[in-house]
Amino acid sequence: MAGELDLVARLLAYEGGRAVSIATHRLMAIRPDALVLCPLAMAGEDTTVHIVAVGAIGRPPEIYCVADPRVRDEQYELFAWLGARIERHFETCRRAGEYPQIWVSSGAVADHLDTLADRQRYNRENAAVKRFGELLSYQTERYPVDGQQALITATGALRMHWATGQQPGEDEHLGTLLAWIEPPRNTNILDAVALAERVPMGVKTDPEFDRDVLEPRVAAYNQARRGGARAVELRQRAGLIQQALEPVVRSIYDGTQRAIRILSRMGLPELPALRNLEERERDEFESFMASRDAGYHLPLVDKPRPAAFKLTAREDAADNFEAAVLCGDGVGRARARLAGHTVYGQVENPRRTRLSPHRFRYRFDLVSRQRVLRVRRRDELASLGDPRLRVTVANVHREGAVTRISAIITHGQQAVGLPASGTTLELAKTVPDWDRLIRTRKQLRQRLVATPWTHDEQGTAPAVTRARRPPRDPLAEVEALR
């Protein structure tokens, strides 16, 4: 049902020829000191960067291009150059007690950076390149975590706030997404989208461009290099390659900057939980840098203990981000209501029953007309209006389109009190709990201090120490105890 809300928004966008807003709050932070990073790989060479544009928000880019990224020394020079800028950015953020935020155009670029970070952080030939890989790993390790603020894709950020009239997969092209959000005047939207699609916005160049322009120039450069051409000729040929690539990467850089501008100027208030999400990001960044300072390596494959920590953190982040959007954003809440993740209804029959001279039970019924409800008997729910009010569902009774939920108040009897008859109330299973991860990590540290043999890959099962002679029929012996 929640999917239908997004479908309706897409249909409205299609009908109106313009993207439709689907958020009441800005759902991610925009750090004023963030870096915009636009790399272009060579086609067929997934671990390369041919040219990169990097710069601050609202500033022109610095550009670095290599003639052929397959030439290892040239490639390493680019990585070291880029690494130095990232290092500077990280240092500035760390001094200020902040976290580094990097913007890229789309998910394809984020995936490319992930591959680069994975490859280069184990580089044994060049310390600067290894450092570049390690630092980049902060962003790429954070990227899959819900609510992270370290690596933002422009397409992802825009999609959180607008629905377009095209397929969700097509929204991953930043140019078409921008065309839907700010359609050019006097042009049919579909024509504008078709035009935008022709401009590369990811991490690869256009195949025709590769064939007709780039490949001949790279081939000529390599021929000259192998033929022992003079430095001036090589510089000239490398310059021709940069001339070809620079407009492509500038266009992606400009598109990413434009996306940030649109998001900054859309005039939506920040999601209240952004403060907590940024606080979490600062903690994660400081912890990451402290580990690097201490010389800890980033593992390629996790052992069970770190895997348990990482998965727990990801699950906590997923739960908290979902709850934060549900509580803080109007459309997020509507989506949750339609999907039955919240129960919305009117209070009926509030009552207080005396259990003993000083003990009371507070109950009420919540009458809902929601089509989809995920509430079951014994579920524990919290009020979105005041999360101190928590209830246990004693019964769920559906009659036609009306569902009556009998609730027993478990927390908040005094602080919030019994809701009055006729008031509307919205309850959800989860509300954000920003301290939960701290508690959980503490518990994990304590519980996982020693690895049990079951999770020790090198270890063997303990030898049988207390074998006893079993009775002839152990089943009959147990049955006899009934």
Partner: protein, 452 residues
Amino acid sequence: MTARAAEPSPAALADEAVREILRTQWAGEPAVRLDSPPGAGKTRVVEYLAVQALARLGERCMVVTQTNEQAFDVGRRLAQGFPNLPFALFIRKDLVAPEDVTALPNLQLARADGDLPAGPCVVIANAWKWSWVVDGHVAPFDCQVIDEAYQLPDYRFHQIAGLATRVVLVGDPGQIAPVVTCEIERWKCDPTGPHVACPRALIERHAGVRRLTLPVSRRLVSDTVDFIQPAFYPELPFTALSAQGERGLRVRVGGAMPVDAAIDLAARGASLVEVELPGLITGEVDEQLADTVVTLIVRLLQRRAEVYDGDTERPIEAGMIGVVCAHVSQVNAIRERLPLELADVLVETADRFQGLERPVMLVHHPLSGRADASVFHLDAGRLCVMASRHRVVCFLVSRAGIEDLLLRYAPSGDRVLGLDEDAEFNGWHAHLTVARRLRERERVVRLARMTA
């Protein structure tokens, strides 16, 4: 000439399997993985292991469930089944326990580490609660029995594995995989990744761990086993406890409505029947299909259907019927159509129906009315749960065209290096096997139009 020994009966096979499991504890096996088909009495084995540990071995036994509800259920079963033995239920401080559970005289409620018994005991709690036990506050346990172990991801097992000397993992390998709500791409290629069901991860790490199986389903009849075993348990052969024709459905009143043909087919001994509506892409909620499900229930009651099991006969009542769907929206579409007198019909999603059973089940087929076959809808575990909750008969209600849909959406073959299992292919293959068998055995009743 010597007489050939008679083959053991399914009941004897089932009991001998339980004895073998119980013996592993006398032998002090450090770990046992017990794989079970649906309805083979997993929780009963958990009870036996716990009672044996306490009363015969004089040990401390911790029973691990996946949810509070399951902990209440195991506590209830143990306390009622063995009224002369003491048990403890370990639950959160502010959790409201059901009144029937708190009323059990031999079931102590423990809400803090300090409340747990010091000597030989059986303590039941969910995995989450166990993971918060503080080392040193609780005496170590001798034996840990995990119920529904295939629902427990390895990273959560890791947190409790060290609490006991021995561990027994009891579960059904064919059911829905553990629910992990976050991105797990990082561990996708790791067969012992934190998201993997703990019995699988344990065997990956320690191939020598003892593996046992329960060979007999007490719930499913042999006709259903013929469908379920090859489709979902190709590596776990099992049979049915009840003999052919021992358990079934009878109707006292004839019927001429289109859905009656499905009921008549069931009355002739078919335990799995597909009721097929004309093909239509409907999206998640299919109003006509929901109407058909309710009509079928109403007709079963109007025709005074009975279930028989050996010598016993029992008229079908609303509480004996269950409906299982893939999506909550489908659950609600059916619930809102049920008249007041059918309020006892249990309508739930497959996830919630795990571990439950009813004599008569109706299944909203997960691929019905869909334009595509996503990984969620192809999940073998989901269909397996749906098609194995019944003791007598199961009606699969669907739209026509499922076989064609499956052939159009053959798996992409996106396998992962290092993992032998291809979940998407397994799901696709299981769906296709069931669909083909239903057609080949003439178990499909086609409805030309809506019947309600």
